[in-house]
Structures are given as structure tokens and as C-alpha cells.
């Protein structure tokens, strides 16, 4: 900031992201996607995915203009077929020959860099704002180094290097993205990541110690009086307590890592600012689970909308220029296979 005032143009402006989608509208799109996917044996799911994403993108606004999702259903369908063959092979192989499952996991691991790169490229090329598309230029070998090499390093150091690997992953994804002609930069330091994971680990250990102490106390006091085992639903209570604690640690990490990562995104003269809060996420996650379970999954649409709204309303672009300074360039669409494989196998390609 001192740099800015030195140049005499201290006019920092904040541009808000917003999400203006409505639950009722999205619910109908979601239900139709579910319904037509079931009656067309899954074929419609590609169309459903595009329509849901288009709804969510177009209602996510920056400076008053929504985003655009451009992927065609056929590109997504092709990716889904390949992903399904992989998933089917994986599921069946485990039953016939357990060793096959290992082979599959190794193949999948080897494919990870390709999945990450292909999915990022596909999603970037199909995302646009004001008719200017994103693009992704990360290469296979660099992805292999970052995801597999540093991943292996994290494993052999028993997780000590994981925060660093996580930061490098985020940096790889961010700094290979472009918005139009503007190369996006990543301003990330390992320190924040290390601190976040350290605190999460301490929280986890603290919770486990408290939990074990409470259980031991319970067994001693109750066990002496009546020698009967906790039966039925009562035996589920400790599981529920552990689950809530797990969600709390998870929310802590999501908020911390999400903020650290997004705050490190620099687009030319503008910089991202993310204000996710742990307590908000704990509440959102817990109420989401209760709502989805209580409605047999029907609340999924509502959950999607409220999460999108929360995320968008905690994201800003700050800088001394307007977003109108960005310039566009022509790009073509990538293959959808990487994106779909990562969807089905839940490979983490998020920031």
C-alpha cells in the first residue's frame, strides 16, 4: 500500500463477488437433472451437469456481471463414459482379484498429473466472464513433480512436508491460469500453510485426548454401578461427538487454506481477498448434513445454493484498477475427460 501512495494513486477499490441464484429455481433444474438422468440411464447427466453449472456460474457475479460456463454436454458425456469404464473396472477388479485393485490405484496415481492438467484446462477454457475466457497452461511433467513427487515426499516425511506440498499444489494451479491476456500470479508462502496444519493437528490431538478421557470416565462411573453395555442408539452417541469434532477440524482447515490460497491470487493490478470464517463453515457443514439426511437428499439443491452464496459473498477483488482493464484472447475448448475422471474418483484438484 505504501507503494501505491508513493505513486499518488491511493484509490483502492473493492469489487465484490455476489451470488444471486434462487433455491426454488435451482431445485427444479436439479430435480429435472436427476429425473431425466435416471430415465435415460445416465445419458442426460451430461446435459444436467451443464445446465446446473450454467445456472450457478451465471448467478455468480463480479462487478454486476455473471460468469459463463461454456462446455458442451457432448464433451462432458464423452468424459463421463471414460470415467465410468475406469470406475467400473476399479469396483469389479477388487472383488475378483484384490491385487488388481492395487494395479488400478497405481495406474490412477500415474494418471493423476494428466487428470489435474486436463481438468484444469477444460474448466478454464470453458469459464468466461464478460466474454473473456480463462486458460490453463500447466504441463504434465510439472504436475507430476508437484503432485506425485512432492506427494511422495510428504509420505516419506510422515506428513511433515504435506503443508509445503499443499502450498506448491495451489501455486501450480493458480500460476498456470490466465484470464484473457492476463497471467495470474500466485503469492503464496509455506509459513501460513504449515501453521494451519499444525493448529489442525493440535486441535485433533486435543479432541482425541478429551474424548478418550471422557470415555474412560464414563466407563468407570457407569460400569461400576450397572454392568451393562451401552446398547443401541446410545452406543452411537460417541460416534456423533467424534463426527462433530471432525467437522470442526475440517471446517478450520477449509477456512484457513481457502483464505490463504485465494488471498494469494493476483490478477494483474487486482488481488483476491477471501474472508471465510471457521465458525460460519462449522455451522454450514453441520446444518447441511442434518438437512440432507432429514430430507433424504432433497436439500442438496438448497445446500449448493447457500454454499455458493456464502463463498461468493466472502470473496472480493481489491486494487487500483477496474476489472474492465482485462483484455481477451482467442482460445479453444479442451477435452472433458480429465474433468469427469476427477469428478467420479474425487481426485482433489481444487486449490
Amino acid at each position: 500500500m505504501s507503494e501505491l501512495s508513493a505513486r499518488g494513486t491511493a484509490a483502492l477499490t473493492t469489487y465484490r463477488f455476489d451470488f444471486i441464484g434462487r433455491t426454488g429455481e435451482y431445485f427444479r433444474i436439479w430435480v429435472v437433472s436427476l429425473f431425466l438422468s435416471v430415465v435415460t440411464l445416465g445419458i442426460y447427466s451430461a446435459w444436467g451437469k451443464v445446465r446446473k453449472k450454467r445456472y450457478l456460474y451465471s448467478h455468480t457475479e463480479l462487478d454486476g456481471t455473471g460468469f459463463e460456463f461454456r462446455a458442451t454436454p457432448l464433451a462432458i458425456l464423452r468424459g463421463r463414459v471414460i470415467a465410468l469404464v475406469l470406475l467400473g473396472g476399479f469396483a469389479l477388479s477388487g472383488h475378483v482379484l484384490p491385487i488388481m485393485q492395487l494395479v488400478f490405484i497405481i495406474i490412477l496415481l500415474a494418471l493423476t498429473p494428466w487428470i489435474v492438467v486436463a481438468a484444469s484446462r477444460f474448466n478454464a477454457r470453458n469459464s468466461a466472464w464478460r466474454n473473456i475466457t480463462f486458460s490453463f497452461s500447466g504441463g504434465f511433467w510439472e504436475a507430476a513433480r508437484v503432485f506425485l513427487g512432492l506427494g511422495a515426499l510428504a509420505v516419506v516425511t510422515l506428513g511433515l512436508m504435506y503443508p509445503y506440498a499443499r502450498m506448491r499444489r495451489a501455486r501450480f494451479i493458480i500460476e498456470h491460469h490466465r484470464f484473457g491476456d492476463t497471467q495470474i500470479r500466485a503469492d503464496l508462502m509455506a509459513g501460513g500453510f504449515i501453521l494451519a496444519y499444525l493448529l489442525a493437528a493440535l486441535m485433533f490431538i486435543g479432541i482425541m485426548v478429551l474424548f478418550v478421557a471422557a470415555m474412560v470416565g464414563l466407563v468407570f462411573t457407569a460400569g461400576a454401578a450397572a454392568r451393562h453395555q451401552p446398547s443401541g442408539m446410545a452406543s452411537l452417541a460417541p460416534v456423533a461427538v467424534l463426527y462433530v469434532a471432525y467437522i470442526a477440524v475440517y471446517a478450520f482447515l477449509r477456512a484457513q487454506i481457502g483464505n490463504l490460497t485465494l488471498n494469494g491470487v493476483v490478477l494483474g493490478p487486482l488481488r483476491c481477498r477471501s474472508t471465510l470464517r471457521v465458525r460460519d463453515l462449522v455451522w454450514l457443514y453441520l446444518s447441511n448434513i442434518v438437512a440432507v439426511l432429514a430430507t433424504l437428499g432433497l436439500a442438496t439443491a438448497w445446500v449448493t445454493i447457500r454454499m455458493a452464496r456464502y463463498r461468493a459473498r466472502n470473496l472480493y477483488l481489491i486494487g487500483e484498477a477496474t476489472p474492465e482493464v482485462f483484455m481477451g484472447t482467442a482460445t479453444s475448448a479442451g477435452s472433458a475427460t480429465g474433468s469427469e475422471v476427477s469428478d467420479l474418483f474425487d481426485v482433489d484438484v481444487s486449490l
Partner: protein, 337 residues
């Protein structure tokens, strides 16, 4: 003539230019405050597929884009051509249609789970080559031997006596399909592995009071083998997994748990159905050999009274159990007497 307003994005600068669009016949006129009006042929403009509540996007030949909220005008000038988008838009736009779709979805899912999957898995399980099944069973037994099983501690006499009874019992019942094996496991149990390996634990043998009870256990496991239950459970479980993945495709983050729960519930439901089927088979087989299903009921009663017997779950947790309630199984056995 149709006229509407929109914002033009040229794809070069990230800035919008308000435009007026006039359509007359096959010609579309685009005018703005700063540019000369220009004319574009209507069929050169591509409109996106309509989605309720989403602004329409019109793509011009040079890569420019016009965004507009004039849904009706765009729909009449560029009616969606492909059937899928038209059908989806029509249902999405109406609450009653969407909710009807929801009810139909629930019905179809129930049909698939209750009838289609079990119906389809049965013939498939019978067509799987015996070699594959035998191989799977052998693999499973090896894993169990390494983990929870120890060699049987029964005396050779006892083993031989039981094997003789078993041989008599399965004689003429396609005996070559099954193989009896004894193992030490620390608790009374019996299981049927793919390929017809029937494992009875030492503790189970000791828990039986007479030959009829031992044969009741064997008959139940033969029921599992005859019905290819292990294979069918694998197939039906995979089917449910695929279905749940498809249905919960966009469950976000932590709510994915909600998709895992029904999958578990359905698996245990299939398992309970197979247990009842195996019970029925056992009752019939016992009767064929002049034994009474009462032996089965007696043994279940005794097992239930053992110290290491698991407590019967209360009503709600029943759905998480892989076996039907013991009381129910005893009653069914006694009805068959």
C-alpha cells in the same frame, strides 16, 4: 418487428456496451450509443440453450456476445432446436412438472433397487464361471486364514465323524459343489464362501448339541452356496454403489455421507433377504432328510443365550443389521416344523 435491449461484450475488453437489438424478418439490427448500427443475418446468430432464470446469450459471427434478459423475444426469434434442451426447459419451468419428475424418480429408484438389481444379479451370478468363483473363494479363505482364523482344534475323531454325517447329508444333493472346512475363530459362526467352501468354526461345532443342529447349520450355508448369495451380494452392492454415485453426483463435501448411508442400508437389506432365503432352503433340506427345522430353532435359541452373543439391536438399528432378527428366524423355523 421485435426489439429488445442487451449488453454487448466484444471479447477483447472486459467491458459491456449497452445495445438495442431490432429484428425484422431475417435481419437483425444492432445499435448502440457509440457505434453505427450494423446488420447481421438472423441465422448467423447462435442463441444458447435456455435455462429458467438464466440470462440469454447470443453469439455473433465474430465471437462477440450479447447478454439479455429478453427471454420471450429471444425464444421467438431463435427457438431452441434440440429436443433435449426444449424438454428440459419445459419441465424446469413448471413446479408441477418438476415435482412429478421427482415422484417418478423415487418410484424408478425403488423399482431398480427392489426388483431390477436383484432380478438382474441372479442370472448373472449363475453364469459366472465356477473357476472364477472357486478362485474368489480361495482368495477370501486365504485372507481369513491370515487374519481371524486359526487351524481347527477339533480332534481328528470328531472331524471325521462330522464329515461322515455331512457326506450322508449332502449325498444326492450335488455334493461335489460344496467343500466342508473347520477353523478356529474364537466365536460360533459358519460361512459360505464363493465356490462352495463352507467354513464352520470350532466354537459353532461345540455349540451344537446334536447332529441335527450341526446339519441345520450346514444346510443354511448350502442354501447360501446354492443361491450364489456371495456373488449376488457383490453384484447388487456394486449396482447400488453405481446408482448412488449417479444420484449423489453433486453432493458437496461433507454431505456425501448422506449418500453412503442409503448404500449401507440397502446392502444390509439384501443381506437379510439372502439370510431368509438360506433359512428357507435349510428348512426344506432338513425336511427332505427326515429332520425337523426345530433343530435350527433350538440352536438359534441357545446361541442367543450365550455370554458372547451380540445383543439384539433395537428397532431402528435393525436396518443396519446383516441378519434378520433372531426371534423372527426361530419363529419361521418352528412354523416349518
Amino acid at each position: 418487428m421485435t426489439a429488445f435491449e442487451g449488453v454487448l461484450f466484444d471479447g477483447v475488453r472486459a467491458a459491456g456496451l449497452p445495445v438495442q437489438v431490432h429484428a425484422e424478418g431475417d435481419e437483425v439490427l444492432i445499435a448502440s450509443a457509440i457505434e453505427e448500427p450494423r446488420s447481421v443475418a438472423r441465422d448467423q446468430i447462435i442463441a444458447d440453450a435456455p435455462i429458467p432464470g438464466v440470462p440469454r446469450l447470443l453469439r455473433l459471427p465474430g465471437g462477440e456476445l450479447i447478454q439479455t434478459d429478453a427471454h420471450e423475444a429471444v425464444a421467438s426469434l431463435w427457438p431452441p432446436k434440440d429436443f433435449i434442451s426444449r424438454a428440459a426447459f419445459a419441465i424446469e419451468s413448471r413446479w408441477w412438472a418438476a415435482l412429478t419428475g421427482l415422484v417418478l424418480t423415487a418410484g424408478v429408484v425403488w423399482l431398480i433397487v427392489a426388483f431390477v438389481l436383484p432380478f438382474a444379479a441372479e442370472p448373472v451370478s449363475r453364469r459366472i464361471s465356477p473357476a472364477v468363483e472357486a478362485f474368489m473363494g480361495q482368495q477370501t479363505l486365504e485372507i481369513l486364514d491370515r487374519t481371524i482364523f486359526a487351524p481347527s482344534t477339533l480332534t481328528e475323531e470328531k472331524t471325521e465323524e462330522l464329515e461322515e454325517k455331512y457326506a450322508q447329508f449332502v449325498d444326492g444333493e450335488d455334493a461335489q459343489s460344496y467343500r466342508l472346512a473347520f477353523r478356529h475363530a474364537g466365536m460360533p459362526n459358519a460361512l459360505a464362501l464363493p465356490g462352495g467352501i463352507i467354513v464352520v468354526t470350532d466354537e459353532m461345532v461345540l455349540a451344537t448339541e446334536n447332529d441335527a443342529e450341526f446339519l441345520a447349520v450346514v444346510a443354511h450355508e448350502i442354501g447360501h452356496v446354492r443361491g450364489h448369495h456371495a456373488m449376488r451380494l457383490v453384484l447388487q452392492g456394486s449396482g447400488v454403489a453405481v446408482l448412488m454415485t449417479a444420484l449423489a453426483g453433486d453432493a458437496v463435501g461433507t454431505t456425501i455421507l448422506a449418500a453412503a448411508l442409503p448404500a449401507v442400508l440397502l446392502r444390509t437389506r439384501y443381506s437379510r433377504q439372502f439370510e431368509s432365503e438360506a433359512d428357507d432352503y435349510a428348512f426344506a433340506m432338513l425336511k427332505r432328510h427326515g429332520q425337523s427345522p426345530q433343530a435350527f430353532a433350538d440352536m438359534m435359541r441357545r446361541l442367543r443365550l450365550r455370554k458372547d452373543a451380540k445383543e439384539e439391536p433395537d428397532s431402528l438399528l435393525q436396518y443396519l443389521s446383516t441378519h434378520p432378527a433372531t426371534e423372527e428366524r426361530i419363529q419361521r423355523a418352528e412354523q416349518q416344523r
